[in-house]
């Protein structure tokens, strides 16, 4: 471990904005995609159930 302190870690040698933006955006995209796909599957299952009730 080569970080002297937490603030040095968050500062990323002066490149905090670029580094944390890159990692943050990646995390955000992944979380968003998982939520979106789960919603889509739930909706598909709900419609399937509706259709099964009708027939």
């Amino acid at each position: 471990m080569h970080w002297q302190s937490w603030s040095a870690f968050f500062n990323m040698g002066g490149y905090a904005f670029y580094v944390w933006f890159s990692f943050g955006l990646t995390a955000l995209c992944v979380v968003w995609e998982v939520i979106a796909v789960r919603k889509r599957t739930k909706e598909a299952l709900r419609l399937t159930r509706l259709l099964a009730q009708d027939s």
Partner: protein, 251 residues
């Protein structure tokens, strides 16, 4: 060991199998990501030229790799669907496209956020960046084309043609740093040559790549399940999923 692969080539057989595989790949993705992030931030040393800014490599390079790998996988499934008229293959291609577009977008954005502090600019119109941008347009074009055609089987065929023609762009991206002079640095890893980076940097990058790989499989399986439900809504096997007896399975 003989597995009858064709048994799983129909949606009704693949749907429950995919459901069983999703948690495994999800947990592998989480484990690889934790290990990869620990190495990326706590173990890998500071770069002597780029300082801490180089740590963007741990998301940028795996995202860029995945963008190309997913494109090839998407074109493979689309082509297989076209050749064998197999609907599950076409659905796999459809399930991969949004994730491929996402990783392409991430490769471009994290690259430009790495370029700004290192090159002094977010964007240059050089071969590597431009061909990766074209890859994003190919993914978006594939999705838009499929969405624009009402008949799903015709949409599959049209999308497959676009995906297959677009494959030519992948080697162009890969070799662009060799073929043209560019601001972009050369490959981090070359076949048959010792890596030009510290071993821990390489390990971090490979672990993050594995995490993205497992994530891609998990999310594509999740999405292909919803595509199966949507497209086969009127088939007996989908209807039987919500029959009273099988309600307990999938909520």
């Amino acid at each position: 060991m003989s597995i009858n692969w064709f048994k799983y080539s129909s949606p009704q057989a693949f749907y429950p199998l995919a459901g069983k595989m999703i948690p495994w790949f999800s947990w592998l993705a989480v484990l690889f990501a934790i290990a990869g992030l620990i190495i990326s931030f706590a173990v890998a040393p500071t770069d002597f030229q780029q300082g801490e800014a180089y740590r963007i490599i741990f998301v940028h390079v795996p995202a860029a790799w995945m963008s190309m790998v997913i494109y090839i996988a998407m074109a493979f499934w689309a082509g297989l669907g076209l050749a064998l008229n197999a609907r599950l293959s076409a659905m796999m291609a459809q399930a991969l496209a949004p994730t491929g577009a996402m990783f392409t977008f991430l490769a471009l954005v994290t690259g430009s956020f790495w370029g700004k502090p290192m090159w002094g600019t977010y964007w240059v119109w050089d071969a590597r960046l431009t061909s990766e941008l074209i890859l994003l347009f190919l993914f978006i074009g594939f999705m838009a084309l499929q969405a624009a055609i009402d008949d799903p089987r015709r949409a599959d065929r049209a999308g497959a043609l676009l995906a297959l023609v677009g494959v030519v762009n992948v080697p162009i991206i890969y070799f662009s740093v060799k073929w043209w002079s560019t601001l972009h640095q050369g490959s981090s890893i070359n076949m048959g040559a010792a890596p030009k980076m510290a071993a821990t940097m390489l390990q971090g990058m490979l672990l993050m790549a594995l995490a993205f790989w497992m994530y891609t499989i998990a999310i594509a399986l999740m999405r292909v399940r919803s595509i199966m439900l949507e497209r086969e809504r009127n088939s007996d096997w989908v209807k039987s999923l919500s029959a009273p007896l099988s309600l307990k399975g999938d909520a």
